[in-house]
Amino acid sequence: MTKDVDPRPVTPRTIDLRLVSLRKEFPGHDGGPPVVAVDDVELEIGKGAMVTLLGPSGCGKTTLLRMIAGFEEPTSGEVWFGDRRVDRLAPNARDTAMVFQSYAIFPHLNVYENVAFGLRMQRVDKSTLERRVSEVLDLVGLTQMAGRAPSQLSGGQQQRVALARCIVLEPHVLLFDEPLSNLDAKLREQMRVEIRELQQRLGITSVYVTHDQVEAMALSDVVVVMNRGAIEQVAHPRDIYARPANRFVADFIGKANFLVGAVVDDRHVDVAGQVLTLGSPTSEPVGTELTLVARPESIALTRDGDGVPGTVTRATFLGDHAEYLVAVPDVGDLQVDSSNPAETGMWQVGEAVKVRTGPLHALPVSTS
């Protein structure tokens, strides 16, 4: 893969959800200084986009989501839905619908009544209500379950009820708070696909909170990586992976080897005496020290030929791929992944190899 990774063609979208220097402080413990959960976040989301807020626990992503929903009041800043400012409105006046981590299905109501709840609050007339509820139940495949109590449903079915309860309202903004974290791996993948398809079909602007990078990649038009209350990078999933804005993003998304090199010309860097190719040209002056990111799967090991000599120090067979740790003098230990080891065979610990990297991504100087 030497070709540049092109960003998806950007279709111009009208801005649908806008956060203006949104800030949330929680009172500190025992009179200590306040804890900043969300630190002056600016974000614009286009109409119909699926945006994930991705970050480690405690990064402020859930607080941000809850401020959009209205469960937390911002310390300062504004929340706009289209041209409507909503940050002073109660949750019930905002026209959002949220899928909760615990689903939060009403245990005293059956599936039908759970889905109908929001429409009843809007005092929708009876025939419209019946039509919309049955349409949505059909959409999520729960028509047969309409009369069931929530306790009689499986985890995946409960998840669908929670989803149906939201989309039946055709809300301005759809919110997801780690909705898949209570499901087992297989079901999680399946629901991920279903949610994505539904969201695209309905075209509702959505904000999705998760700490699972795979989920974020699979679902979103735009990934927002957060850390310590602030946004680290906003980009398409492919850009987040291939062109991380800083060391945190590179490290949090996937696995990364960090190399240090000096600029040779706009396309090349010198790493421990080896001249390596950059994925995209740099405008830094010759000799500038750069932090470079090499993904494990972009590094190739060969017995001989071009490349830096190294020694395999760890070899792990994982079925679909193998993971190696390769010691390279003057550079350090590199993580290397190779696919299909069952057929191509494994390198043994202690074996001498030649290491070749694909095009490297240079982190912007100010953030590295």
Binding site: M98, F106, M121, L169
Partner: protein, 557 residues
């Protein structure tokens, strides 16, 4: 300050809820705090202004000193006895495989639903001047049950169920695997109990003791019937100062003195011991028939439970017998004339009592749930104060509250004396704490996102409470309703200050009949009262039980 404003603004996004908070806050201030403040003020009132004269009397007059000493003494003894019996019963009925556990459980808690002094009437039937045992069986002429022994006996009967219920929760919450673990590392059965189970239950024991102490100090009916003139006690003495000598200031002073140990015990129980509980009462008993109890110990403890059960049966038995006996002690022929009296002369009182209870029950039940909801799920300045004020009445003896209501609502701006309203308001705010407590306990176990989901889907605060919260906390709502009704039917200590010719209560009638020596009529009133309470409990179970059927079949979270 900025935070307080921010919280108010946040709450004000839902104006209806903000209004509700303000109204509840105001009501608590007027109907809980204001009367108490007036009692304290009144207790310092002297002919020439304010002073410590009344309190000086406390030190000078032997009558008052004795009253304080006797109340504390009785409270302590009753606390120890009730906790001992309650512990034995709770232990047998939760941790052994003794027979008929359900039956003995119901028998043990039966005294809770009767007037707090029906034990006193039974004692008079059995051990009074014309008592079956003292006069008929033993032939004693000069035996007097009045005084220390009588009060202690009737209070132990009345308050053991409270200790039992508290300790049952504590013992059921101790995980039986701890006992298995202790035996596994070589502890004997006795060691398992004294080194593991008992220490774990000790905070619960202390808590139960203090609750009984508070109840005993506050008790009015039993001492009034059984203490007698030579054994003064604080609560009846305060009543006598006001109704007998019309000395409000002295009555208020005695009430204030009574308030001190009650509030102290309450503070210790709530803010010290409860924070040290090793087990959280979840209401979900871990089924265990422990091997850690020897058969001998089981049977000895079972004997205690059986004995208490027999006392309960005997006490209720003599009340029923007394109600249909012509003249107890002299003429044991069967008669219905006591009941005829109740239905002819006393019918208005029965009607009044039912009206008061029926009006009180839904208000206090609902208010309890609303306050629990607000306290657990919302934050606003003064929330701690609201929770404190709303459960303060746990600790305020009825006598104090009754005097407070006379002082507060006899004059402008609030003239309520002699009305239905004053009785209802008093009962609502006195008996709402139990509903609040159970509401809070249940709510804390319910995932808050269920209510957030309702709001998110367009329900405002009140609708969320009505459509989601209330159905989910039906069990707590139910126990609040039952408690409210039972207490409204059986209350005496505050009510006796507030009844009037227009609105009289059965409990007051019963006391009056006992006072004038007509035990038969008192017994007949008691039987009618008990039947009404049981019928009402059946109705509430039927009504609330049906709506909560769906709620109880689903698990939360």
């Amino acid at each position: 300050m900025r935070r307080a404003l921010r919280e108010i603004r946040f709450l004000a996004r839902d104006p209806l809820l903000l209004g509700l908070v303000v109204v509840i806050m105001a009501a608590l201030l007027v109907f809980v705090v204001y009367p108490l403040v007036l009692v304290l003020l009144q207790s310092f009132r002297t002919p020439d202004g304010l002073g410590l004269d009344n309190y000086a009397l406390m030190a000078e007059r032997r009558l008052y000193r004795n009253a304080l000493r006797n109340s504390l003494l009785v409270g302590t003894v009753v606390g120890v006895c009730s906790v001992a019996i309650g512990y034995a019963a709770a232990f047998v009925l939760t941790r052994t495989d003794a027979p008929l556990k359900r039956f003995f459980h119901n028998l043990t808690i039966l005294p809770i639903v009767s007037p707090p002094f029906s034990g006193a009437i039974s004692i008079l039937f059995l051990f009074g001047f014309n008592g079956i045992i003292t006069r008929q069986v033993l032939g004693l002429d000069d035996f007097s049950i009045y005084g220390f022994g009588g009060v202690v006996a009737s209070q132990v009967f009345t308050f053991t169920p409270i200790a039992y219920l508290a300790l049952r929760g504590v013992l059921a919450g101790i995980n039986p695997t701890l006992e298995d673990a202790a035996m596994n590392v070589g502890a004997s059965r006795a060691q398992v109990f004294w080194r593991v189970v008992f220490p774990l239950s000790l905070p619960g024991v202390a808590s139960a003791f203090l609750v009984v102490l508070i109840e005993s100090m506050a008790d009015f009916g039993n001492p009034l019937v059984l203490a007698g003139a030579s054994f003064p006690m604080l609560a009846p003495q305060a009543f006598l100062e006001i109704t007998g000598s019309f000395n409000l200031a002295r009555g208020a002073m005695l009430a204030a003195v009574l308030l001190v140990p009650s509030l102290t015990a309450f503070a210790i129980q709530r803010y010290y011991i409860n924070k040290r509980q090793y087990v959280t009462v979840t209401g979900k008993p871990t089924a265990s028939t422990s091997k850690a109890v020897s058969p001998t110990a089981t049977w000895v403890l079972f004997g205690v439970v059986t004995l208490f059960g027999l006392v309960v049966v005997a006490f209720y038995g003599v009340i029923v017998l007394g109600a249909v006996t012509a003249v107890w002690g002299f003429d044991y022929t069967f008669t219905l004339r006591h009941f005829r009296y109740v239905f002819e002369v006393g019918w208005d009182t029965v009607k009044d009592t039912i009206i008061v209870a029926v009006v009180t029950t839904p208000i206090s039940g609902l208010l309890g749930m609303v306050i629990a909801f607000i306290v657990v799920r919302r934050s606003f300045p003064g929330k701690g104060a609201m929770e404190f004020m709303s459960i303060l009445n746990f600790a305020v003896p009825g006598t104090v509250a009754g005097i407070g209501y006379i002082l507060a609502f006899n004059n402008p701006p609030f003239i309520l004396t002699g009305t239905l309203a004053i009785l209802v308001l008093n009962f609502v705010f006195r008996y709402v704490p139990v509903g609040i407590q159970s509401g809070i306990a249940v709510l804390r176990q319910i995932d808050p996102s269920i209510e957030e989901a309702a709001q998110n889907l367009g329900a405002d605060g009140i609708t969320t409470f009505r459509k989601v919260t209330l159905p989910l906390i039906t069990p707590a709502f139910f126990s609040g309703l039952v408690f409210g009704f039972v207490r409204a039917m059986t209350a005496i200590s505050a009510a006796i200050f507030l009844v009037s010719a227009d609105w009289n209560l059965m409990t007051v009638q019963i006391l009056n009949q006992v006072g004038s020596g007509r035990l038969g009529v008192a017994a007949a009133f008691s039987v009618v009262l008990l039947l009404i309470v049981m019928a009402a409990m059946a109705v509430i179970t039927l009504l609330v039980g049906r709506t909560s059927e769906t709620a109880s079949t689903v698990r939360f979270g």
